[in-house]
Symmetry: C3
Subunit: 311 residues, 3 copies
């Protein structure tokens, strides 16, 4: 499927800042998982606990840690961080045809007062509303909507089906039902941000919602109005962050987790999967709130006793 590209190991070692142990002239033409490698594959070992998988691998070459005790079964490239080397190799072996050429697909609808840099890629059926500004090198993939007042910083990527700048969920309760609060703020997305597929990020009520540089969101993530999400944070799939929470740098959150609204979370906090944060966090660290899964009959007993705790 992909265009085959061949490299001598010495070439690759130069590109990933490593050192060949074995045949520097050996040629590889694909990057594979250890167990699926063939005789012209390069693979990698980033975690010592998977070392036994090498026993059945047909790879030509393996990227390993600098301290790995090599043998003669494979050619090796030793480097400081084999996982970063893998990331670099993934780019080298990416098919050229996948690289997005700057263009606006003819089926996209771009508001006349949106500003789109000439180096931007905009895919099929994308809608870009009024007052949006899209900086250089951005990719906005098929079926996304940028509603209004959205700024996307340079080299950020918005994956398919994602909605940016949607209306925040704001109503004032009254005797006659809810009175809608118009959302007058915008959404500001920094540089090198990546937003997964089918996400929703609301624009602010009065001020802007802010997603800072280097943030990475997985698929189906919701970010409410007026959230500030700090630099280099990473959030796994199906999480939700409620309105006006201010979150520090390097925040990480496992899937299906949430943060209540109007909270303040310091830098360097990690939250486990399927956990809800209900209070401010002032100390960096790892926070978890999972109810452990058990066989149904055991859970039923634990569950009754948890309820009894309150009596």
């Amino acid at each position: 499927m992909s265009k085959q590209i061949s490299f001598k190991l010495e070439e690759l070692a130069k590109l990933i800042n490593g050192k060949v142990v074995g045949d520097t002239n050996a040629v590889v033409d694909n990057l594979s998982a250890v167990q699926n490698a063939n005789s012209s594959s390069i693979t990698f070992l980033s975690n010592a606990k998977y070392i036994d998988l090498l026993d059945n691998s047909n790879a030509s070459a393996v990227v390993v840690d600098i301290n790995f005790k090599e043998d003669s079964r494979f050619n090796y490239i030793k480097c400081n961080d084999p996982y970063i080397a893998y990331a670099q190799l993934s780019k080298i072996f990416k098919n050229d045809s996948e690289i997005k050429i700057p263009s606006i697909h003819k089926s996209a609808t771009i508001s006349k007062d949106a500003e789109v840099h000439e180096s931007v890629y905009i895919g099929p059926n994308v809608y870009v509303g009024p007052n949006c500004k899209i900086h250089s090198g951005v990719e906005i993939h098929a079926n996304c909507s940028l509603v209004k007042d959205v700024i996307v910083g340079s080299h950020s990527i918005i994956h398919h089906g994602t909605i940016l700048g949607s209306e925040g969920f704001g109503y004032a309760p009254s005797d006659e039902g809810y009175v809608k609060i118009e959302q007058l703020g915008g959404l500001s997305i920094g540089k090198n941000v990546e937003i997964g597929a089918n996400c929703t990020i609301d624009r602010g009520a009065l001020d802007d919602t802010q997603i800072h540089d280097g943030v990475k969101l997985d698929n189906l993530v919701h970010i409410a109005h007026n959230v500030v999400l700090g630099k280099n944070s990473a959030i796994a799939a199906s999480c939700a962050i409620a309105g006006s929470s201010i979150i520090g740098e390097n925040f990480q959150m496992g899937g299906l987790s949430g943060v209540l609204g109007h909270l303040s979370i310091c830098n360097d906090v990690t939250v486990g999967a399927h956990t809800l944060i209900t209070k401010n966090i002032e100390k960096p660290g790892n926070y978890v709130g999972i109810m452990p899964a058990q066989k149904h009959q055991d859970w039923a007993k634990s569950s009754v006793l948890i309820k009894k705790l309150s009596k």
Copy 2:
């Protein structure tokens, strides 16, 4: 970005049913949060606990509660409910250009036997399938799909990327795998309903799924087939309600929560975030089922002990 609109305080006071204390002729041209206000801003104080924020505010005028003890730092508009006043002001300061003019975008696909009122706005790339009926003043934003047999009541708003009338999840298990149950019902959405972005609401299996007047759904909410969701209910992001549950009026649910199928929930029930309702609820009140988040090492201990409870 927005068109500037100027008002004397006495004009605004009339529009929001309040009373000016201070300079009735003072002119404001924008609505801002307390901390970002400038010398021509009007802002509001809806919760006494944020009163200290006024100390550093540059606002010209502040909307406050009728009982607020005013001083000479700002002009004030006193009114019964400053939060409702804020909602009213948000509409006044909304940019005219945001108001959706009745129209069907040329990229939309409307089934020939759908009925669309002439006052409806339908955005880019919307699909409206057979037997849909869309009443007056409705907005259906970009990239939505109304699959089939969907009625949308007047003045309801469907935000971007939402799917209405999707097939319910129905299969009869058999020895040869699942046998699909065709979904023959429809979806009936009342008046003044608002559905967030990237939601999914299934049509019924035999009868209709029903979303009653005044319901508000945030983004990424799922409502399964044959659910009945009572008047003026409000559901936060990333919730899911399973099939055939019948839910009363004024239901409120925090984010990432769920309701199992075939349940009955009375009027005036509030459910916290990240909570699952597994039984019928017959008494109004506030229900919560969150496993508290802790530092990882503490959680690990609690978790072991919860499991031991069952022994």
Copy 3:
């Protein structure tokens, strides 16, 4: 709304492999729920606990279990599994106009190196990217994106707004922030699979993500890269499965639940709603991890005591 179609009970009994007790010549023209049936309806009783609903039903005929003790109130069709009979009847009474004719909507964007079988239906605003292969009888509904390297097996159905083959969430952490890992694998979907609305299924990092034959996913489900999901598994709405987990056949999972990454789950496992699986599962059975919902004041007490468990 639907075309009326009339059947004698003896005709229907033949089609669903049942036996009429009562008037074999009675004519029915619609399939309804017990409580909404009219004098020309056929309905069904698949669970004895709903038997009292028959007291107020106006149905002409009722599909019942072979052991049901019939009376003279209704005509009956007795059969081995009334729920499967209902599924069969739902197909019989489905409006012909709903059947999707093979076609590619003119607003769809199909990559020139995608292979689409002539019997496929592709709806409005669908994007099909490079190296996709879509087999016979597949339906891909409006506003879906198939990003790249996606194979869809015959007679599978992809509902509206779903993203297949999206980029997996892969980054190598470095001192300068995250280094993106290009996703070089594909996504392979088997036969007779059904994927709900607004789902996301990532393609693999190096190998393929695999969804095996007969899998059924509800709406808003996320499947991460390199997951293998076994034959005839069924996953309810708003669930998420993290990367590289290998899941056996007949897996079932309630809504809002998740599976952590790199786990192995045997065949015939059922997981309750709002539960997180954090460990390998080696024994078939029913696993649950719900924190029970309580009145707020009771929950507050339980919650404090759960935290104390760790002291």
